[in-house]
Amino acid sequence: PELSKTSLSNPEILRYSRQLVLPEFGVKGQLNLSKASVLVIGCGGLGCPVAQYLAAAGIGRLGLLDYDVVELSNLHRQVLHGENRLGTSKSISIAKTLRKLNSTVDYVPYHMILNPKNALKIIQQYDVIADCSDNVATRYLINDACVVANKPLVSASALRWEGQLTVYNYQQGPCYRCLFPTPPPSETVTNCADGGVLGIVPGIMGSMQALEVLKIASGIASSYCGVMLMFDALDGRFRNIRIRGKKPNCVVCSNPTEFSVLQDYEAFCGSSASDKCRMLNLL
């Protein structure tokens, strides 16, 4: 269904009053938010804070995609699930938790794996995409589908004590492939299960991701077009890095048609889209 809204109700004015008084945001920003749809891909350590703060702020529609179920080892960082949700779908778990916080948001859980057959069709239905996934193959798939569908992609990642964030395919900025045309050798890829992660690190990176989604969805420019945020939790330092612009020779940007979405990303990356069955790697 269409998200359309031309004014705020009295309960909405009360609920969002603290952000309505911000001149840079205001009623216009709130109405833009209420008409915007965001797809959160991955309902784990990053997806929880992203979904939580987008729902609180009054996003119109929130797509929540994850194939996985809640496990006890998730709960140190995946803060919207709970002990009574073990074994249940992560996407449905987030929707259940957030309905209590803000029942006016339209939650759309997808308990499925994103694959080359369904990616474009789902992504086309949303205004902004948040990459909260946990593996290389899915990150390339999301990127390619976002370039083809022409959607801004707010991407974050976290491992151990570090985090990275940038916005791809937005204004004149690069896509993920412009920056990383070739996937890393699979033996150099570490996931959270192997490498570990302090739970608050995806908490911080996901919160920054929510901020940039909110800025784009409410009509304020993102600060991370052509800029990458790097965070080290051990020394408490953030760095903003200038990165390259869109590359004319990028295989996807130079030919953004549905044929640019590959048939098999696991083969392309030499790794699985599920991070469960990976062997222990050096880094």
Binding site: G42, G47, S157, T188, P202, R242
Partner: protein, 112 residues
């Protein structure tokens, strides 16, 4: 490029003093040391990043160099930063090192 005030007792002229950082897991190839203060030996031309990579491979890398260098450049998935900018904006392998440069090699993260 002769700096008399940087002359050492053994007449080794020093041309570059700078910092190399490894982050995002790349430090695990270097005994977990994230920051290295490096002084390169002098040579007749400026050092560029291409030469620096060879020097790192020969002097800092502990083992499995293929996880850091492939062919004549860094392996896919490592981003090189020169003074907080993507090396692509600075000339990549041809960038000529300056004193006090800050060179970062950072593995991209994929976890969530």
């Amino acid at each position: 490029m002769y700096h008399p005030h940087l002359r050492y007792a053994k007449d080794v002229r020093i041309t570059h003093v700078f910092i190399i950082c490894f982050r995002g897991g790349a430090e695990l190839l270097f005994d977990g040391v994230k920051q290295h203060h490096v002084t390169l030996p002098s040579q007749s031309n400026h050092w560029d990043i291409r030469q620096l990579l060879v020097w790192i491979k020969d002097n800092l890398l502990k083992d499995r160099p293929e996880l850091f260098i492939q062919g004549h450049t860094v392996r896919p998935g490592i981003l090189v930063l020169i003074n907080d900018a993507d090396w692509e904006l600075m000339g990549e392998l041809d960038y000529q090192l300056q004193d006090k440069d800050n060179i970062v090699f950072i593995s991209t993260l994929h976890g969530g």
